[in-house]
Symmetry: C2
Amino acid sequence: MNYNIAVISGDGIGPEIVAEAKKVLGKIEVKYGHKFNYTEVLMGGISIDVHGVPLTEEALSTAKESDSVLLGAVGGDVGNSKWYGVAPNLRPEAGLLALRKGLSLFANIRPAYLYQELKSACPLKDEVIGDGFDMVIMRELTGGIYFGERKTEEVNGIIKATDILTYDDEEIRRIAIRGFDIAMKRRKKVTSVDKANVLDSSRLWRKVVTEVARDYKEVELEHMLVDNCAMQLVKNPRQFDVILTENMFGDILSDEASMITGSIGMLSSASLGKTKQGMYEPSHGSAPDIAGKNLANPIATILSAAMMLRYSFDLDEEAGAIESAVIQVLKDGYRTVDIMSDGFSKVGTCEMGDLIADRI
Amino acid sequence: MNYNIAVISGDGIGPEIVAEAKKVLGKIEVKYGHKFNYTEVLMGGISIDVHGVPLTEEALSTAKESDSVLLGAVGGDVGNSKWYGVAPNLRPEAGLLALRKGLSLFANIRPAYLYQELKSACPLKDEVIGDGFDMVIMRELTGGIYFGERKTEEVNGIIKATDILTYDDEEIRRIAIRGFDIAMKRRKKVTSVDKANVLDSSRLWRKVVTEVARDYKEVELEHMLVDNCAMQLVKNPRQFDVILTENMFGDILSDEASMITGSIGMLSSASLGKTKQGMYEPSHGSAPDIAGKNLANPIATILSAAMMLRYSFDLDEEAGAIESAVIQVLKDGYRTVDIMSDGFSKVGTCEMGDLIADRI
Ligand SMILES: CC(C)[C@H](C(=O)O)[C@@H](O)C(=O)O
Ligand SMILES: CC(C)[C@H](C(=O)O)[C@@H](O)C(=O)O
């Protein structure tokens, strides 16, 4: 089959890690007889450099017309780079937000699990880790305070800045359904996270999620306050299967959860909408400090490509082949510097890509 | 000297732990010749039971007229208790929010540090802990999305819920000044946490904090995005001295930070305003599951009483006496169940209070 992939290499380590994902996809093409057509799309800092805006209309159209989007990383050091002296809507991240909204990718899926092979990189004690943990954060991605109106105004010498957090029941319902669907394929537990003791939007969230749960009798639903969830992730990450939450809480909790695994360089993510189209990217950022040095771990991007095969193209076997190749490389003792420990072989970005491709 | 203290025993384990704090304060009275006059004020669930509202006007007045407020804990299991079937403004937590606002307690100070004696309770690996960590979360407490307008409305069959997040420069400036003042007495580093790549309120936050920093040339100021901060707390808590942040982010991050110490039963907090008056309470909650069983750890409340002596009454020596007594009891090998480990003597709430009082 033929698939059209919009590729956003982006900024920082983006181009290096995307190159390795394409290398691995190349092996999939040969082995399984598919054809992946790539169209490079500029977004973020590089688009600002070339076009003066983080995402052009044309770039958005190209992404829209593609079967899926593969993204490296976007942005630089906030406040310390040439891209941040401009209006917020012209900064790199604005491109990412516009793309999420433009493609209606309301469901962001971030798995966070402990690789037994990388247990030593986990910051938690062995007693806390137990026999490992494996959760998915299902984050709403096109609503909430990220996309509400905002303004800053000066009245009588006082400067006042306002951001608006809104959710409607339809927005909550569609992400909740996704959360329960995923839970059905996993350990059948949903932890819905909100701040219902303070926010109206959270009370609506809780109400709608409770309604949706009625259609999933087999799934256990638990409600948890966001502050408590931030604690429980550290205290006992094993209790979680699917964490279902709104945009801003999901931003914070998914980063906390990925750091708890100790190997954020391994974690992929998918952003999905109503159709088969999706955007796939590593959970980590653009790491400008190590860009261009062949140091970045390409595995999160390679696993994001695997997610793309599974969710957008229904190529389960091919996705599995990539995932097995990654595990095999870890078993064979290869590590990039971020997950390196004594007794293993240190390799660079490019070598890691080769090693994984070789095992497909 | 004579001091008038409004005491809010509150719900769950509240009454038990407050009783132990009063026991310890009793020893201070005798030893240093002070007089503490207590007025019990109803707030939270117990006030709902008695008065039908979580905080009466009269209770608020009593608190206002006091020299300081000592609080145990408020609320029950959200969604599982008799106090939650009512309108949000009638629930236990609404009393707490009304009290914070009514007393203008805009600065919430939550220390999070690792007790060397309790290292084994810390969920982080020894390599991450290193020689320990010691930070203070300075959380804005009377602004932001906690106190903005909110509404839920149905229009054409769609239910829409909205919460508004607002900050003005004055609100940010006064909490920032508190943050830098505290940093001057500590290791002279402020990490200001925001989401400036998305929110207008965060951009104003960053701007004002940067301005305030100019008056504190000795203090190092660093800006950090909230998602990154949630990661860094797990990755390397030693990097933090003072974390300065807005209300909702502070709620999440302070809970994460206290869980990282592994001994949330030990952590006190202070909420301060412009005057010497303050409200002092443990960082943990009301733990309804263990209420009335003589199991709760009273140390966080006892240390909150010490903070009260120091910040509201300028009784540094007396505060120090309580803090030393707590350390001594730990050194002597006594532990409540939440911090118990092999080889120590397990004691209940009441015995722990006695042991600390004995050492003053
Ligand atoms: C870059 C930023 C706007 C973005 C977000 O907050 O959503 C990032 O942190 C993420 O989680 O993908
Ligand atoms: C009870 C609740 C409203 C409160 C808050 O969110 O501020 C609590 O979590 C806290 O941190 O003191």
